[in-house]
Amino acid sequence: MIPMFAMGASDHDDHGHDDHGHGDHGDGHGGHGDHGHGEHGGGSSWWMYLLGFLVLAPTLMCLFNGVVGSSGVSYNPATGEYSSPILMAIILAPAIGAVINGTIGQKLPRPIVNLVGCAAIGLAFLFSISAVGSLMGLEAPAAEGHMAHQPIVYNAFKWIWVGNFQIPAKFVLDPLSAVMILIITGIGTLIHIYSAGYMSHDPAYARFFTYLNLFCFAMLILVLGGNMLLTFVGWEGVGLCSYLLIGFWYTDDAKASAGKKAFVVNRVGDFAFIIGMFLIFTAAESLDYQAITQLATTPETAGPLMGIATAATIFIFIGCTGKSAQIPLFVWLPDAMAGPTPVSALIHAATMVTAGVYLIARMNALFILAPTTMWIVVVVGGVTALMAATIAVVQNDIKKVLAYSTVSQLGYMFMAVGSGALTAGVFHLMTHAFFKALLFLGAGAVIHGLHDEQDIRKMGGLRKSMPIIHWTFLVGCIAIAGVPGFAGFFSKDEILWNVFAQVHAGAPMPGLHVVMWIVGVLTAGLTAFYMFRLYFLTFHGESRVAAGVTPHDAPAAMAMPLIILAALSAVGGYLGVPHILGGLVHWIPGIGEAMSHHILHTWLEQVFTPSANALSIRFEHDQEVVMEWVTMGVSVVVALGAIAASWMLYARPSDVPKTVAERASLPYKILSNKYYVDELYALLFVKPTLLIGRFFHKVVDEVLIDLLLVNGAAWVMESMGAIGKRLQDGNVQRYAGYVVLGLGAIIFLLLIK
């Protein structure tokens, strides 16, 4: 049937992916080593996949287009909506891949499994391009001389339909979900191809690709879902896949625990999400995004929504802190690094963890009604960004550094959306997806090339033996550090500028935004510092690689995604050039040439119009040009300074880091123990819950109910029986006595009456 847990023919433990097993690599690490790294399993055949993919995909595309017409977009005059089954094709392609690999994958040869897995998501990517192309064509004049894109809607079937609670399985492609599906399927495809190389020695490859495809399926539902409940389906679905993939090597109890922790912590967020939905449904009688947006942005219908907006958005935001690893629910993400590295790249960096940002962007019309929530979002984002960055500085596990970096960068995105700079948030989401996926894949390639070594203290000098990884990783570091010209610079600068600009935009608490801007700049500095610390410790200096390990560069299947992502990390930022730097000329059909400094901004405008109107304020550009130059200058200087500091400390032999760690031993200890948050939560939540459970079981159930009530009732019956037995003991004199007593009692009663 479906041996999804099958470890394959060989015993998994012998191929242990023991990430914690630093040191002796002579044995036990056969998973990646000792199999002849010269001709890497995935390496020699990846051209085959690519070729098969290139042949198969266009064929299917042609078939699809032939059957349903060009992308199948049709106009329904009754509803005024454009519809296309291509949305279903995008979603179902990975699902079909998962079903194939999940059912018969174990019996298929490895290249076929790889091909099915990659083709499933690759097809979804091609379909996505086709659909987004159609979406670009569906332009209609909107207000203020801009063009709006008619969303493509596909109603698949009635899902839950009770009374006035009506939830269709409805999928919507609009500019926002378009950005998301391109990231998910595009980066997803690269990571699938990479995985063919990375997992080339793992016997459970079929299970891996099943889960990976399943994840993409759930993620696509999350972003394409047309109502909150469908998003919730994807939301929980990605959580489930995350659970499965974090605990992929489940024979290791620690990894299985990490998976469980991720799921449970996310469930806490999901619980809040559910409450948020209740509140919204109470007010709007709908969970449909279009309906909610329309209600919230029409003054005469916004009343009930305003009543619950603050409460509802706070609950939804708690949901987002779960999925997007923000304070207080970030604790699962660092542990999630127990999963295979491609999983960390895809799920825990590029896609799933950004779902919270996506959700707030999607529900911007409601969030904008709740200024209180907005500043909570900014503060939580800012504090998380700074806190995670400080932890990242002292981590020694290459993946843990990247994990905390992800938490920190997600904090940036929340600062952006909380400031109302939704485009900036989505922009950073996108660039982050490029460079963080790149960094994770690079880290994975390093780990792979060092036979499962993750400790950066046991690396060093790898730039010679791993040139491709080195150069691409460097690009990723430059991008995330915010060096001008690379992707991270543009998006980070836009966020910082927007946070700062709130001061002038009449935000309720200008002081708060100044503080948040400082936090943002500090975080930017720390980010540049710890990323280059990681880079220098890994690739520069003397080699500290354990004896017996021969580092090797990435095989072709892994190198190709690295190079593509490096290119994207380098140039991806030009989708959103700040206007002070000139911007690009944008051609708007029907209107003509117009200056647009920001392609992404123009593209997403219609989705964010509601909140843009509410926040339209801002200020005249020319007046603020100087301020914008200044803020940009500050962040660039801080970033470059931090890189220089990092170079001084880590590129060359230096005693300073050690001295600092010794001198400031207390802060160092707190940081390396991640502020003891895990311990705190265990003390506050885990242990009390178990205690209460035991109390309920042992005391309430067994003593109070069973012993006192149930057996007590039996005892009362028994005692009554015993008394009755004594009353009727056959002694006639006593019976006569009872009669006299009774008579006396009756007479007494009659007398006192």
């Binding site: 479906i2 009635k158 003054p299 619950i308 459970g693």
Partner: protein, 629 residues
């Protein structure tokens, strides 16, 4: 067959067949030689399969009541189909009347669906007294189907008690070490409730002379429901009925018989106990206690909801600390059935339909969990979590099945468990009756104009925390049993699922997906019956509405009327929707004030729309959608 008493011609007495086929099977088994255990199994399985196949005819149930050819409709039970009625004990006014509606339909199908699965699962689990076991299973099925389809009080009571006997023997004979304690507890608990119910039933029965045509007594459900009762009477009678059903569900704090019964029962007994028997409690509430005493139900609703919510959290938290897998699953049942009861108590169409869906999904998921526990118990003869660990590696197929069932039980969307639980919570959050009077509206400052829904939201909110605990205890158990290294060498050679086991697990798995992805397949046959049920409850709900509640409904009705995108109330909209008072012109100022106070300014178009709205609302046919104008 001859039509009687205004009933239409019965083409095939399908329900009677469903009740008596298993009895026939039991009789046949009784005459087979004792040594031929294979034959007993074969006969029981055959009867199980034939009954299931036959029960599929019930899918012809027509929720729209449009075609009368396919399903038999009775004038006396206008909401029922497949009705059969024959004279039975004329002197008592008891008739053999059976029929189904959307409420009982799926429970009957669940019963017939689980039967062959259970019988298959006993092939290796029950090796002693196979003959008696099969007879018990068959009689039990007859009792359950009978209780589900009976439309006569006495008939229902007899089937209700009939279920008890085979279950008693099943635990008492084939049970574990402490089976005698468990059986006695199970039996006494249930009997206390049954007795109270019988007394209450008789009390109502002796009032039926007021409503029957001839002035005699009648056990017919139609007459029982028509008996006029004072409020005080209703409270006591409802209390008696509700207690009987609450014990069966079981509702906290009447639940302690369940873990004992489950742990001691053989696997098949646990499956049927969790799968169908517990639902008899919730079904009984829906069929008897609630429609017979609607005012009492609405008055007690918040208290029932309190117990349900306690049950949800309590069951989950206690499940967390269990060391025995089966006890853990038993406590998870307490938690899940809490959702069911909350749904019924909330009295909204969503919550009631959700509760019905929870019954079905719980039957499939928890049935599956017990089967999975049975699988490992058969192999290792232990159910202690600590004795396992790392099984996923040696039994990958089993791990896959088990995991999907676990996630169904944990309520992951896309699988069966989610739909019902979510509907219950969603419905509960909108409930009009879950409050203790105006003085206790909580959260008002946060929730603005919400009023009593704010209270309901607290119930729903606390209950929703069950989703967190559900994940904790199930995943923790799963991890300790299936993941990690194999610590106990005895587990290293554990057999994966055999063909027979795959055969009986697969249908459950398929149902997990089908029920999660396409709930409308099932619910489309529930809607009209739930509407009818809500209509029966309406007097109670209306009596409970407070002045403020009416006002709030009024206000929200007005504001929402202007919403072009909000879905128009469907034809099958809840009856409460219809009960919403029409907005009056006097509230226009309030709406304006509210919108202004929230920082919005009405533009000209907005002003026009509000005026139009109120003009329309003030008119006799008011409340029309403004977009139509």
């Amino acid at each position: 067959m001859q039509a009687t008493d205004g009933f239409m011609t019965v083409s095939m007495p399908i329900l009677t067949l469903l009740i008596f086929l298993p009895i026939l099977g039991a009789i046949l088994t009784a005459f087979l030689p004792r040594e031929e255990s294979g034959l007993h199994r074969g006969v029981a399985l055959t009867f199980g399969l034939v009954t299931f196949a036959l029960s599929l005819v019930l899918l012809k149930y027509d929720p729209d009541f449009s075609s009368t050819t396919a399903t038999v409709v009775s004038s006396r039970f206008p909401t029922m189909q497949f009705v059969e009625s024959y004279g039975w004990i004329d002197g008592l006014g008891a008739r053999y009347t059976v029929g189904i509606d959307g409420i009982s339909l799926w429970l009957v199908l669940l019963t017939t669906f689980l039967q062959p699965i259970m019988i298959l699962s006993t092939f290796s689990a029950v090796t002693e007294r196979v003959k008696e076991f099969m007879i018990a299973l068959l009689v039990l099925q007859a009792g359950m189907i009978g209780a589900l389809v009976a439309l006569d009080g006495l008939l229902f009571y007899i089937f209700w008690e009939l279920m008890l006997i085979p279950m008693y023997f099943m635990i008492g004979i084939w049970g574990g070490a402490q089976r005698h304690y468990a059986t006695l507890k199970f039996f006494l608990y249930t009997m206390v409730g049954s007795l109270l119910m019988l007394i209450a039933l008789l009390y109502v029965y002796f009032g039926t002379d007021a409503v029957t045509a001839g002035g005699g007594y009648s056990f017919s459900l139609a007459e029982l429901m028509a008996v006029p009762l004072s409020e005080g009477e209703q409270y006591w009678l409802f209390g008696a009925f509700a207690l009987a059903f609450a014990i069966k569900v079981p509702l906290f704090p009447f639940h302690t018989w369940l873990p004992d019964a489950h742990v001691q029962a053989p696997t098949a007994g646990s499956v049927i106990l969790a799968g169908v028997l517990l639902k008899m409690g919730t079904y009984g509430l829906m069929r008897y206690a609630m429609p017979m005493f609607p005012e009492a139900m609405v008055t007690f609703a918040p208290w029932i909801a309190v117990l349900s919510v306690i049950g949800i959290v309590y069951g989950a938290v206690v499940a967390m600390v269990q060391e025995d897998v089966k006890k853990l699953v038993a406590y998870s049942s307490v938690s899940h059935l809490g959702f069911c009861m909350l749904g019924l108590a909330a009295l909204t169409p969503q919550s009631v339909e959700g509760a019905m869906y929870v019954m079905l999904a719980h039957g499939v998921a928890t049935g599956g969990l017990f089967l999975a526990v049975g699988v490992i118990y058969e192999r290792r003869h232990t159910r202690l979590i600590a004795d396992f660990g790392g099984l996923a590696k040696v039994t990958p197929v089993f791990a896959t099945f088990f995991m999907i069932i676990v996630f169904t039980s944990a309520g992951v969307p896309g699988l069966a468990g989610f739909v019902g639980e979510f509907l219950v919570l969603m419905g509960a959050s909108q409930s009009q009756v879950l409050h203790f009077g105006e003085a206790t509206y909580w959260f008002e400052s946060v929730s603005g104009a919400m009023g009593p829904e704010a209270n309901a939201l607290v119930f729903a909110g606390i209950a929703a925390s069950g989703v967190i605990f559900g994940a904790v205890y199930l995943l923790w158990m799963f991890q300790r049993v299936m993941f990690g290294p194999i610590k106990n060498p005895k587990n290293a050679k554990m057999q994966d699922l055999g063909v027979r086991e795959v055969l009986y697990m697969t249908p459950l798995l398929v149902m997990c997906f089908v029920m999660g992805l396409f709930p409308e397949v099932f619910m489309s046959r529930m809607h009209s019956s739930v509407d009818a049920f809500m209509e029966q409850m309406r007097p109670g709900i209306q009596a409970k509405l407070t002045a403020e509640q009416r006002q709030v409904m009024q206000l929200s009705a007005q504001v929402n009327l202007g919403a072009p995108a909000s879905p128009a109330p469907a034809a099958s909209a809840p009856s409460m929707e219809a009960a919403k008072p029409r907005p009056s012109a006097g509230d226009e100022a309030r709406v304006r004030e509210m919108i202004r106070s929230r920082g919005f300014k009405l533009n000209d178009e907005g002003k026009k729309r509000i005026q139009r709205l109120h003009r329309g609302a003030a008119a006799p046919q008011g409340g029309a959608q403004p977009s139509e104008q």
